[in-house]
């Protein structure tokens, strides 16, 4: 484990290096992964993406040696792990699969404590760690500790899967299509939650996905693979979108590259509208007066942690003497790390013209309206149109079309 401080955050992750790694299955002519060299910086998220059969999962599983490489060396930090005991090695690497892969016969707490128990931690330390991790992944400790996996939604199971992977505080986290089996809105929440966790812990995370948009959202760098584990491009999302390295990459990222920039702009990069908040039990007239003074037409009711409960209009507020404890379970929220694309999706799914922006702990910090998003799209479209030699309608000469 290497502990080095860069800037303001402490990187607890370790670098990963693949050195000429090959996977050749017996009885097959072509190697599943032909000689791959790759450097992954400590504390970064790298997304492996590519069409099915490109070897992205095989490459991931060679890092924790669920699949033994035929040739080559793998380094985690400065340690050559190619010859290590595979069980010991995996205990020091977090691993998350689709739907979390929880043990169905164990409670949430027992699932999370699986590896600490193998490592012989004291029961009290495991309990504390479990509570800390549940809180970290955004699940209420009292509510979820003793639940069984079957009594949770797919998204909640996935969160527990991440908590279990982080239990022994590994420097490296490997994730194999972790968000493939959940609905789009839940997926966005889980992605934002992962970004928040990564921001707090600065682990090295390798994530396999088939979704280029997810790769650009999550990855500090994206690795695009084609058949046989051939590296087509390994760069930041911005670079890949601006300068695709090959026709393969160009085709893979698709023609919607302009709108794909929406996935590069984050909610935190654009201006938010301030919101007027009120707590349950506040006098309605006082709240309305406060809102009018700021020119707001609606308010956000928050709980004691600052998390939003509802967003009634002033007319609705006026119908009750005091702010009620009504909870709107369809409240659209996004995190600062969400992309504008996510925000737009959330608004459309909730049939609302705006979303609330919440921080890592769920407290409301502002609101984002559809107008703001549209302004960004308009700006990007005009950027893209100017200078690509496209002749506009008004500048067109009759008969010049071919």
């Amino acid at each position: 484990m290497t502990d080095n401080t860069t800037g303001e955050r402490t990187v607890t992750g370790a670098s990963i290096r693949l050195d000429g790694v090959v996977k050749q299955y017996k009885g097959q002519n072509k190697a599943a992964v032909q000689k791959i060299d790759l450097d992954i910086e400590a504390g970064h998220i790298v997304a492996f993406v590519g069409p099915s059969g490109c070897g992205k999962t095989t490459t991931l599983k060679m890092i924790n040696r669920l699949i033994e490489p035929t040739e080559g060396r793998i380094f985690i930090g400065d340690r050559d792990v190619t010859g290590e005991d595979p069980d010991k090695l995996r205990q020091s690497i977090g691993y998350v699969i689709q739907s979390g892969g929880l043990f169905p016969h164990w409670s949430v707490a027992k699932n999370i404590g699986a590896i600490p128990r193998v490592l012989g931690w004291e029961a009290k330390k495991i309990d504390e760690r479990t509570d800390y991790l549940l809180d970290l992944v955004g699940l209420d400790v009292a509510d979820f500790r003793d639940r069984l996996p079957k009594d949770m939604s797919g998204g909640q199971q996935q969160r527990v899967g991440v908590a279990r992977a982080l239990a022994a505080d590994p420097p490296v986290l490997l994730m194999d299509e972790p968000f493939g089996a959940v609905d789009p809105i839940t997926r966005v929440r889980l992605q934002d939650s992962l970004i928040a966790i990564q921001h707090e812990l600065a682990k090295t995370i390798v994530i396999v996905t088939h979704d280029f948009e997810e790769a650009t959202k999550l990855g500090d760098k994206v690795l695009i693979l084609s058949e046989g584990g051939h590296i087509e491009q390994y760069a930041t999302p911005e670079e890949i979108l601006a300068k695709p390295a090959s026709p393969f990459v160009e085709e893979f990222i698709g023609s919607g590259a302009t709108l794909a920039h929406l996935t590069l702009s984050r909610v935190k990069d654009v201006d938010h509208d301030p919101v007027v908040t009120a707590e349950v039990g506040d006098a309605s007239q006082e709240v309305i007066a406060r809102a009018r003074a700021q020119g707001a037409t609606w308010i956000v009711v928050i709980n004691e942690h600052g998390r939003p409960r509802a967003w009634p209009s002033l007319d609705e507020v006026a119908t009750k003497e005091r702010i009620t404890d009504y909870v709107d379970d369809r409240l659209p929220t996004v995190a600062p790390s969400s992309t504008l694309n996510d925000a737009l999706d959330t608004m459309l799914a909730a049939s609302q013209g705006g979303v609330l922006v919440t921080d890592g702990r769920g407290a409301v910090t502002g609101a984002l309206t559809i107008a703001t998003v549209m302004a960004v799209i308009r700006g990007q479209l005009s950027d893209a149109r100017s200078g690509d030699g496209h002749v506009s309608y008004s500048a067109h000469t009759e008969g010049a079309a071919t």
Partner: protein, 245 residues
């Protein structure tokens, strides 16, 4: 005990049947007068010995079958032994396909008469359900759960003991229950090779034309089978881990 309250219908219906049948038999047994010949088999002391013999024979065979079939089944699900699986299942199949009477008599030719031969015959006959269910039970465990266990650093043995076996328990126990019920019935045949069981009542009743013996033997075997089936069902319910449907 909460889970017993949610128990399915059969868990409650079966004991009802057992009580009705049992009480009926006891009432008849107490009211009937036995001739001396009948007394020799149906007198309480003798009857008790016969019942105990039958249970001992059944349980001994079951313990041995379980001790052989479950470890063998586990072994056959390991990757290294995968190739032997069809062979072993075929052998077990032959054991069950052969008629039980034939099997026991043939074994007698080889091993002589008595308790030991009867047990061996029963063991051969009852291996298949437990072996088969152990293999199926372990194979039906979600591969992704196993991959997750290995992926977070569980060794192969730990994965087997803490993940695969607990999740296979309902299916394995179902096989044990099936085997037990088969054994209770088949144990009656041991009378042909000189091992005492409830079958002795039935054969004596047939040969000497004593319907009371014949019916007692049949009713008692049926009762025993029902009781064991029910006990097995209850154990299954209790031993199934929470969270497994």
């Amino acid at each position: 005990m909460n889970r017993l309250r949610r128990a399915p219908l059969d868990v409650w219906f079966e004991p009802l049947l057992i009580v009705v049948l049992g009480v009926g038999y006891i009432l008849w047994y107490r009211s009937t007068t036995l001739t001396t010949t009948e007394q020799a088999s149906l007198g309480w002391d003798n009857l008790k010995t016969t019942i105990v013999d039958h249970i001992v024979l059944t349980l001994t065979a079951t313990v041995i079958v379980v001790a052989i079939a479950i470890p063998l089944g586990i072994l056959l699900t390991r990757d290294r032994a995968k190739n032997f699986r069809p062979v072993a299942v075929n052998f077990a199949n032959i054991g069950q396909a052969a008629p039980a009477v034939g099997l026991i008599v043939l074994l007698t030719m080889w091993l002589g008469t008595g308790f030991r031969t009867a047990v061996i015959g029963l063991v051969v006959y009852a291996i298949l359900p437990i072996l088969q269910n152990t293999i199926v039970g372990i194979q039906q465990v979600d591969q992704r759960t196993i991959e997750a266990a290995r992926g977070i650093g569980f060794s192969g043995l730990r994965t087997l003991v803490q993940v695969e076996l607990p999740l296979a328990v309902p299916v394995i126990l179902n096989g044990v229950r099936t085997a037990l019920v088969i054994l209770v019935g088949t144990a009656t045949l041991s009378t042909f090779i000189g091992a005492s069981s409830l079958g002795t009542l039935i054969t004596t009743g047939t040969t000497l034309f004593l319907p009371k013996l014949l019916i007692s033997g049949a009713v008692l075997v049926a009762l025993l089978a029902l009781i064991i089936d029910w006990l097995g069902r209850v154990v299954e319910l209790i031993a199934t881990p929470r969270g497994v449907a």
